[in-house]
Symmetry: D2
Subunit: 240 residues, 4 copies
């Protein structure tokens, strides 16, 4: 089965911020997509905020099994209508992989029900990510831990619901830890959060990160049950 992935990016800082453009000249989305395009089982498209329908017209979502989401400075520019539509799609079974500063996106906060806040520090130091659930497909091929030589720090408390599955925990040089790879189910949909990916670091050119995102996409696209029905219902069992 081919998984149809749409890589969404707000695509703003690449235009306004020279250091970001230097690392991601074609946009963060193209770096992420490049990391997924080598896989025979993934069919990859990209979408950006300043396109028609904020990049996510129904025709595209109709052909999207999993959506990945990167945003940072433009969360508030994502419209109610876009958030409502993506939310409905997730509940109906579309997978969603939220990346890094997407923790503060409207769609992630909507799905979590919490503030999704955290501690952060832009010091570009080392991050080490440890696998705390080696039974999980998101951990495939990552080793027991792996390192990003330079990243932004995110620290606990991360104000999310207790994950259904906790896969990765990060260690930072400054003394912090963070739940960096986590999953939740919402309706028929599957949601993953993956911490790394600050725009001033080449994280989305890193092969371990490509693998991690690919793993999460496949996990989020797994088969699922029938669409539930709701409302006034006749008895399903006859009187005894």
């Amino acid at each position: 089965m081919t998984v149809r992935v749409t890589v969404w990016n707000e695509f703003r800082q690449e235009h306004t911020d020279a250091p970001v453009r230097a690392i991601y000249p074609d946009g963060i989305h193209e770096a992420i997509a490049a990391g997924l395009r080598g896989a025979a089982d993934l069919s990859v498209r990209t979408a950006t905020l300043d396109s028609a329908s904020q990049g996510l017209p129904d025709a595209l979502l109709d052909e999207t099994d999993v959506l990945t989401w990167w945003g940072h400075v433009a969360h508030d520019d994502v419209s109610d209508e876009t958030v409502d539509r993506v939310h409905a799609r997730v509940l109906d079974g579309m997978g969603l992989v939220v990346l890094h500063s997407g923790h503060f996106s409207r769609i992630f906060k909507r799905l979590m029900g919490t503030g999704c806040n955290l501690k952060w520090r832009e010091d570009g130091r080392r991050e080490r990510l440890w696998v705390v659930d080696p039974s999980h497909p998101i951990a495939e091929g990552l080793g027991e831990s792996f390192v990003l030589p330079e990243e932004e720090m995110y620290g606990e408390f991360f104000d999310i619901p207790a994950p259904d599955e906790l896969v990765l925990v990060s260690w930072f040089e400054g003394g912090e830890v963070f739940r960096s790879g986590a999953t939740w189910r919402r309706g028929r949909g599957r949601v993953a959060y993956l911490r790394p990916g600050h725009e001033t670091h080449p994280t989305y050119h890193n092969p371990d990160i490509h693998r991690l995102i690919g793993n999460a996409v496949r996990w989020a696209a797994a088969p699922r049950g029938a669409a539930p029905t709701f409302g006034n219902a006749q008895p399903v069992e006859p009187p005894g």
Copy 2:
């Protein structure tokens, strides 16, 4: 420690619907409160939608450890401002016990991140609630199962996030099951959902239900950790 409980009710059908008024002449909130007032460790107040600040002024919430919520026909009359304030209080540590048709309240949907829909049937037949986690304080004193002789049916799929703790599962005569007692943590707050309590049945006069709600209130008021801080943070560990 005394737990300060505020029992909130939309208090509409008691005015408009004679069968409801016949069962709850003083309002559903007073029946619930009556069930809690006998407990030496609970201090109980009531609040209703059509009061000032929709019954929930800051001065009251400042003195509320746990809020119970019953609503049905007036969910949409609860304002954004009320939902925002209650949501912030829960994340900051106030307990919330959502009752029956409160599954469709704006505050519950906000906290869950899902549609919170379900199947239902107003047939007034038997419901049996089974304890599936006897280690849980919400199950104290309920026996292995208990019966409500007449209730509305709620059936799966119940579109909620997988509960952090599942305590009760209901059996209905028509062939349905339902996750009837469940808990979630949101920020520093604790949220419980308790299924029973349709307005045309005397459920809130039932001693088992009084006990169940009291148990949930105490659970939701348990001690908790310090308020987290968020934002730009200096390293907590010195360079090695």
Copy 3:
């Protein structure tokens, strides 16, 4: 990827009990295997208790991605050595799908850490299984609920650890409910429990049950992370 499944059965009552033999003349294992053999992505073998190495020599386990387990009257005949070996395999990543009266098998109790007891009644009446997690691959193709016209009843409390994922809840005519499809992770291994399958009913000839077991086998065979290492460890990060 082809999943290599070994269907294990104690295979005793088929020899001693005419009604069981009438339903499963080749053994319960052959009925289960027949239900899986039609799938192109599964490679199926069977194994039984009274064979060499209790049916599970290392050479077979080396080629087993997922083991399914049916036992009832001969749990105590499974040796310490067999339990130890299967336990080690699960922690090392082999999937395990435990069926019906396998709830009382030594390997399931070892993996759960609890008593695994329950209520039961051999009355051959209807069971209805409801999907309570439509995001789960184990629920694929089962509809919102499905019926077994005759089965043994199992009732709560089922003395298991709270499942990592609860997929199915059963309704029984006598008033009981049961957590009928549940999963846990143990080490790198994935464990599922599926309730139906009493030996005096044709449950393992039912297409929904074939699908359910196949779904669980595929879920239990999903990719996973690297084998962890343990013991005395040097620092992974250099002094700052």
Copy 4:
């Protein structure tokens, strides 16, 4: 309500190892007990392996609401009979708080169903413990994080079932992280694991650790539901 705590210690290295005796001249159990004895709501006794009935006669367990467990070099000296009895008590509702090297105790492995192995390093460097669930009573009074100036390192992967609740995650100077405060329910019993407490460091004289253990004891002693019944059962609902 007074919680009756029994603090169990294998009490061996305090006799054989001068550095341990220097820190814990009366035994680790007395240091732990001293930290709990100031609390008006706790009634504290101690017990050690080389006493009659391995320190845990039925008469003592009959009066024990919560047992804390510290062991290290003598896990294998704990008899089958002791493990069986403590296991049965936990399933029947006794709380169990397992400390540090107790991760490898027979009773913890029995309750978890996994290998419970981990990485370790006796370097006596700093550990910082972060609260990742500020809604949890185990976190009360600990702040957002707290430090132990010298401790043994424990690192992931920690081979435990995914905790029902994860409360603390540790950061170590050498680059490791660890799930340091975690809970599980087993039967009617509640189990907590708390990482700190190597015998060559004064951890059990630390006020934060006293508070942490006291919090866990109170959590493990919370009210619970009725004892379940098992076995052949008549229908609870009349034919319709």
